[in-house]
Symmetry: C2
Subunit: 318 residues, 2 copies
């Protein structure tokens, strides 16, 4: 799977994944009014979000290799929300996008296997295979150790899928557990990084990267550079760009000499572009899709410039 | 919420939570045949599981204070599975049971809030409140630190709910991250334990326990005793009894002098009782509910005896 992701990154000239984490308050009022006209309920909210997602996808799908769906923002609308999650994922796939589900699942072995089968595998029904929430890649949490991760790695092998393991997350409190210094001088996240190296060693593709990747927050530029060296074969999913405060220069440490090694996620800055400067003066609320497109182009440009300054990009950023 | 849980534990004389983690292969063939007659698909599987759950609940609800639903075993049947999750939770509540959803959710602050609202809070729809998957208590993963936990604690306060934070999990690989020794000599799980003490300090109820609890595996009796001392105000959800190998004497370290402090989870041993010795000779497959009841009574008896030996139970175990 990692080769397919990298192929698309190069093809689109964009090491970017757009996050579709749609809070209801991100939607233009006209879209809300349209759906809530016949009743304010979870079903109507989920339908409004689906419309919002599709309009954004229609406007950005040709610019980027992948989308990331944060499942929490779908679970909060119950089963209707999860239907929207699935329909968004399927629509994105129909537009040629790789779909990363940000689910951060974790459990002991047998239960991790159930989660793994739900997203990147198959549910067995009397010898028949069915798919619950099929996506291409998911995020997972490493706190339970190898036997909680192996069922995900197994499905990566069997079904050509990928995972990103949380290593150093973008939030301020990530230091509390992840930065604890262990007896041998390494921090917990560095110990986790070593495990991720191990977990992915059988899944290394043509570019030298594994389908077992890592989540490293853009808000920690120093750790990003350091982990790039510590995990030379691990692709990074890097959240925290844009609304969380990280800029293009902050994420350069995550790239190798070819301009590969990281895919940068932005969610709020793309979804809410129509409300933010400078796009709010150029686009009206119902043109939110166009504003998202403008913001993606802007983000591509910023990352392009920073990669040029670093003299490390071997692919054309159009 | 913790007071309500403890009240029920005392009332039922059972520090026991039955896990409804229904793998399809746990169901008697007759139940599968009935539902798959018109087509083998996720919807039929989810319906079969709902029937299975309801029959078990009908047979055990009077014996225990709570049930735990492992959501992975519902997610693997897609949106149909999550409908079964909800219907099972609602049915259990209608029978007077406290419902713990084992979801192990975790994310950065704003996303953790979405998860928190989905399970123990409210989803806001234009100033109206809706509920996505309302349950009484959930499990959460601490790897992201305080800002990833606070949204859950906030909902515990606002809505009289409870959480159990993963501290030391029951699986063999839990040692890889959780048992790392930090520079000051404490293990990672002990550092997490200290955090859990902090997170729950404003939520301590009449019995001296907080609505912010911890998950401690029954498979680590030594750590269970040690953590009881380190976390004197934290209630433990203890998985790993029965099928995972832990026996009644292994879990005694989790109890205080009153026989409080822990609620023991068993899943497979209760759900699959009809297939296991000695119940498989006394009950036929379609009597699986009766077998589950017999196994719950047996488990109550075993824990009762062990608590009597420890001379620490102050409530009647009937």
């Amino acid at each position: 799977m990692i080769d397919q992701l990298i192929d698309r990154i190069i093809e689109k000239g964009a090491p970017i994944v757009a996050g579709l984490d749609p809070r209801l308050e991100y939607l233009p009022q006209s879209l809300l009014d349209k759906h809530f006209e016949r009743g304010i309920n979870l079903e109507a909210a989920a339908q409004a979000i689906l419309d919002f997602n599709i309009e954004i996808l229609n406007n950005i799908h040709d610019l980027i290799p992948a989308v990331k769906l944060q499942i929490a923002y779908y679970e909060m609308y119950g089963v209707y929300g999860l239907e929207t999650f699935m329909e968004t994922a399927n629509y994105a796939k129909s537009k040629g996008l790789i779909v990363i589900a940000d689910v951060k699942r974790n459990d002991i072995g047998s239960t991790a296997e159930a989660y793994s089968n739900a997203y990147i595998g198959y549910t067995l029904l009397q010898q028949q295979q069915a798919q619950a929430f099929p996506v291409d890649m998911i995020t997972v949490n490493p706190y339970l150790g190898t036997d909680g991760i192996k069922p995900f790695v197994d499905n990566c092998k069997r079904n050509n899928k990928g995972i990103f393991v949380l290593v150093k997350t973008s939030n301020p409190s990530s230091k509390e557990i992840q930065d604890l210094v262990t007896a041998d001088g390494l921090k917990v996240y560095e110990k986790v990084a070593q495990k991720v190296n191990e977990w992915g060693q059988d899944l290394i593709g043509n570019y030298g990267y594994s389908s077992v990747g890592a989540v490293i927050g853009a808000t920690f530029p120093h750790e990003l550079s350091q982990l790039r060296k510590l995990m030379p074969k691990v692709y990074f999913l890097v959240p925290g760009y844009g609304a969380q405060g990280a800029k293009a220069e902050d994420i350069m440490g995550g790239f190798d000499d070819r301009g590969l090694g990281s895919i940068i996620n932005a969610s709020r800055s793309i979804m809410c572009a129509y409300r933010n400067k400078p796009w709010n003066t150029q686009f009206r609320p119902h043109e939110f899709g166009l504003a998202s497109r403008a913001e993606v182009l802007n983000m591509k440009e910023e990352i392009h410039k920073a990669l040029m300054n670093k003299k490390c990009n071997s692919y054309k950023i159009n």
